[in-house]
């Protein structure tokens, strides 16, 4: 029935349906896709677009309630959907490798990483035990893990996130498969690590002649790494073509919106540059330091770990100050100290010239009125048992602002301010999308009319289109209400769009500070340069 093809993988009209308690949900709608031998295809889309479902369907790893309702998957001339489970097991891992998304949960914590790699050889009977061990060490070396023979015996918890992701890549590539499916292989990692790993992945697959399907939400990354880009929206493939072409002249409306919304280093800043230079700052942090006690060894000798080391900065009124850095750089700890959720070990915080570093009791409560947070995870930051209205009203109740009737009016006003319909007040968080919840979190933060809002990775968990809307909302609110923001993020492109002043943090210290222009056009510190070089530009 199928014409003779030269493609390694041919997906024709594939539809996948999930059975749920709310009825059948079509996750993939007649998707067609082909992958040539040795080529790299990027599958791009927002969360819920069906990109991961598509790859699990072709690997026959759909969840129990999912089934393929139509279409065919032809891999190297065989119809994968017609194979028995046993035959499929012979193909998985051996001919189709998989690199799963989350390096933290996809390794067995009770087996050494080496064993988990050599297991692939023994399962497919391509090598005996000693031979498997030798080849596993070789692989660890190939994916760039130094001192591979020693690492072989280590357990997942002894390895960093980047190392673990390398181990997963080694497992995926162990049998030199003809196709590798990489599902968001680097989205849990820092940009500098991401770059290294993707470089290694592409040179390895090139040398083995392995074709790659890379699933990602990052369009720039896809364009930079893939020959061919396939864009998915709501289960359907809306656009596909050579990477450069899709990015340069997108045909589909959705792709165009996606490209427009994706922040990159060339996106225009949303805010105007700094004007008044030396008016009294709203917040001044002076040599802020935070130590955590640590214990090591059997005797538990106490030591200290310095998470934040003498960090100083100022936040002028009505301005946005950004702190960027990778995970573990101390940027969130700094934010928590400014919020007084964590106490500084040393140093001072001045708020409108008052020292607030050691406030407690009633004075702390009135300080909290002035400084409000918005957190990263819009799913966790709201109490699931409170309605949206109750959540927004709660700060007003705590501080007894106005009469109860006035508080109710204020909730309506706040919802309107963040562009949500007042009828949302009676809904529960689980009825809202991620972007809507983040709007609620912002409304709640604004309820007490604070002067400073601390945004800790407030847009990082959102899809690009939603992220762009929230950023615009933040800039708009700043202009209207004269808010000051402390904006914590790992995403330099976003920080560039919204900040007036940027501080780059590494290992607890601020290594470079300046305006976005200074930092991005003329970085001084070596680390800033590495960070900038690691950002996917969208140019192959």
């Amino acid at each position: 029935m199928n014409p003779v093809t030269t493609n390694l993988l041919e997906i024709r009209d594939l539809s996948v349906v999930f059975r749920t308690s709310r009825g059948d949900v079509e996750a993939v709608r007649s998707a067609s896709l082909s992958v040539a031998a040795g080529a790299t295809v990027a599958l791009v889309g927002q969360s819920g677009s069906g990109k991961s479902t598509l790859t699990s369907a072709l690997n026959r790893l759909l969840a129990g309630n999912g089934r393929v309702t139509q279409g065919s998957v032809t891999f190297a001339g065989t119809d994968l959907l017609a194979l028995s489970e046993r035959q499929m097991s012979g193909i998985r891992g051996r001919q189709i490798g998989l690199v799963p998304q989350d390096p933290m949960s996809n390794l067995n914590p009770l087996l050494s990483v080496g064993r988990q790699i050599s297991e692939v050889f023994t399962i497919h009977r391509v090598a005996g035990r000693t031979e498997a061990r030798r080849r596993a060490i070789e692989l660890l070396d190939m994916v760039g893990i130094p001192d591979a023979a020693r690492r072989y015996g280590q357990y997942p918890h002894e390895l960093s996130g980047g190392m673990r992701q390398r181990v997963l890549i080694a497992i995926g590539l162990a049998c030199r498969p003809r196709l590798l499916i990489a599902d968001e292989p680097t989205s849990a990692l820092d940009v500098t690590v991401q770059k290294k790993i993707l470089d290694e992945l592409s040179s390895l697959t090139a040398s083995m002649g392995t074709a790659v399907i890379m699933v990602t939400h990052d369009l720039a990354l896809a364009a930079e790494r893939a020959d061919h880009v396939v864009v998915m929206n709501r289960g359907a493939i809306v656009e596909s073509g050579p990477a450069a072409e899709v990015l340069k002249s997108p045909q589909d409306e959705y792709t165009r919106r996606l490209i427009a919304a994706a922040p990159s280093l060339t996106t225009k800043s949303l805010v105007s540059g700094p004007t008044e230079k030396d008016s009294a700052p709203l917040v001044e942090a002076a040599a802020l330091t935070r130590d955590y006690p640590t214990r090591s060894g059997i005797l538990g000798r106490a030591g200290t770990f310095r998470a934040v080391d003498k960090v100083s900065f100022r936040i002028p009124r009505g301005r946005t100050v950004g702190i960027v850095g990778e995970s573990g750089s101390g940027k969130s700890t700094t934010a928590r100290m400014i919020l007084r959720l964590e106490d500084a070990s040393a140093g001072d915080i001045y708020f409108r010239k008052d020292d607030v570093t050691r406030l407690s009791g009633r004075k702390l409560k009135s300080f909290r009125r002035q400084v409000q947070p918005v957190f990263q995870n819009p799913y966790a930051a709201l109490d699931s048992r409170q309605t949206i209205g109750e959540a927004i009203r709660e700060p007003l109740d705590v501080h007894e602002v106005g009469t109860p009737a006035q508080r109710g009016e204020r909730v309506t006003l706040l919802l309107e301010q963040v562009a949500l319909d007042p009828s949302y007040a009676s809904r529960y968080p689980h009825e809202l999308s991620g972007g809507q919840r983040q709007r609620v979190a912002i409304a709640r933060a604004l309820a007490l009319e604070p002067e400073l809002v601390v945004l800790d990775e407030a847009v990082s968990a959102l899809d690009v289109l939603v992220q762009a809307q929230i950023l615009e909302l933040l800039v708009d609110l700043q202009a209207r209400l004269g808010l000051s923001y402390l904006f914590i993020s790992h995403d330099l492109a976003v920080v560039r769009m919204i900040c007036h002043q940027i501080h780059v943090m590494k290992s607890g210290q601020v290594v470079e500070s300046g305006t976005p222009e200074q930092i991005f056009e003329n970085p001084q510190h070596e680390y800033t340069k590495t960070l900038l070089a690691a950002i996917p530009t969208g140019r192959p």
Partner: protein, 290 residues
């Protein structure tokens, strides 16, 4: 399974309540609830349902079951069936009360220890460890022996050995919940520690406690009966299941004396166990089987 049936997407709002109840409609839960409801009826209507006075002789002693005495008579000629029905009035409400007090005390202690930590936490949880290091029935016996026999003393004894279970459970829940972002968010708006604890943490941690308490109800019914069986709980003339079984044990060949209360106890314990297991399967995601 009944939970597998699907309903059409976008069903009208009226069916929403029904779909929320649907997971609870499993044979374990329905069967368990029916038996529990029957016993509740018995507790309320014991006076109407019982054919004879449970405290007075109503016929010759040690009579085998007959039309007049469905479960025979005991050593004093009292009707065993009537005594069994009245016995439900003692065992079940007392067991529920014991559990409620244990859950309230244990959860409060656990929540406070978990949230505030420090010395208080260390002291309270070590005390809980000590109590839990003893076999619970032995410790309860020792406490009742010290206080003197009596149903209320048995109650106190069981609360003493039982609260640590819920304290531990609650503490674990609170420890993991207090790091959640919505709790941090509550602190950041200036909510005090007590309000944060009772408004944003405790309501989220009640589910496992309630499930655990339901499963424990059967055990507590048995413990109360055991203490009575040993002569430490209910005192002789009162119709308590454990005490009635003691009487049956000393009149071994009159099998009916112990059979009535024994079967009654098995039925209620089994019913609450089914109910508890069913609730756990529905509410507790971690142990969900499918």
């Amino acid at each position: 399974m009944s939970t597998d049936s699907t309903i059409a997407a976008g069903s009208p709002p009226g069916t929403r309540r029904a779909s929320r109840l649907r997971p609870f409609l499993r044979p374990q839960i329905i069967g368990g609830s029916v038996v529990v409801l029957l016993w509740l009826l018995v507790i309320v209507l014991a006076g109407v349902l019982a054919p004879h006075d449970p405290m007075a002789a109503s016929g010759p002693r040690l009579q085998a079951p007959s039309g007049a005495h469905w479960l025979g008579t005991d050593t004093l000629g009292r009707d065993v069936f009537s005594r069994m029905l009245y016995g439900a009035r003692q065992s079940i409400p007392l067991a529920v009360l014991t559990l409620v007090i244990s859950v309230v005390v244990g959860s409060l202690v656990g929540a406070i220890a978990g949230y505030f930590g420090g010395i208080l936490d260390a002291l309270v949880m070590r005390l809980a460890d000590i109590v839990m290091a003893f076999p619970s029935i032995l410790l309860a016996m020792a406490v009742t022996a010290a206080l003197g026999p009596g149903l209320w003393h048995a109650f106190i004894a069981i609360v003493i050995v039982w609260w640590p279970i819920y304290a531990r459970l609650m503490r674990g829940q609170v420890l993991s919940l207090k790091e959640r972002e919505h709790v941090t968010a509550a602190r950041a708006i200036g909510l005090g520690p007590w309000k944060t604890l009772f408004k944003h943490i405790v309501p989220h941690s009640l589910t496992p406690v309630i499930v655990s308490a339901t499963i424990d109800l059967g055990t507590v019914i048995i413990m109360i009966a055991s203490l009575s069986f040993l002569g430490l709980g209910a005192l002789p003339p009162s119709p308590e299941w454990g005490a009635m079984i003691t009487e049956g044990a000393s009149n071994f060949y009159q099998w009916w004396i112990a059979t009535g209360p024994g079967v009654a106890m098995v039925s209620i314990v089994l019913a609450v166990n089914f109910l508890g297991d069913g609730l756990r399967d529905v509410l507790d995601v971690k142990t969900r089987t499918r």
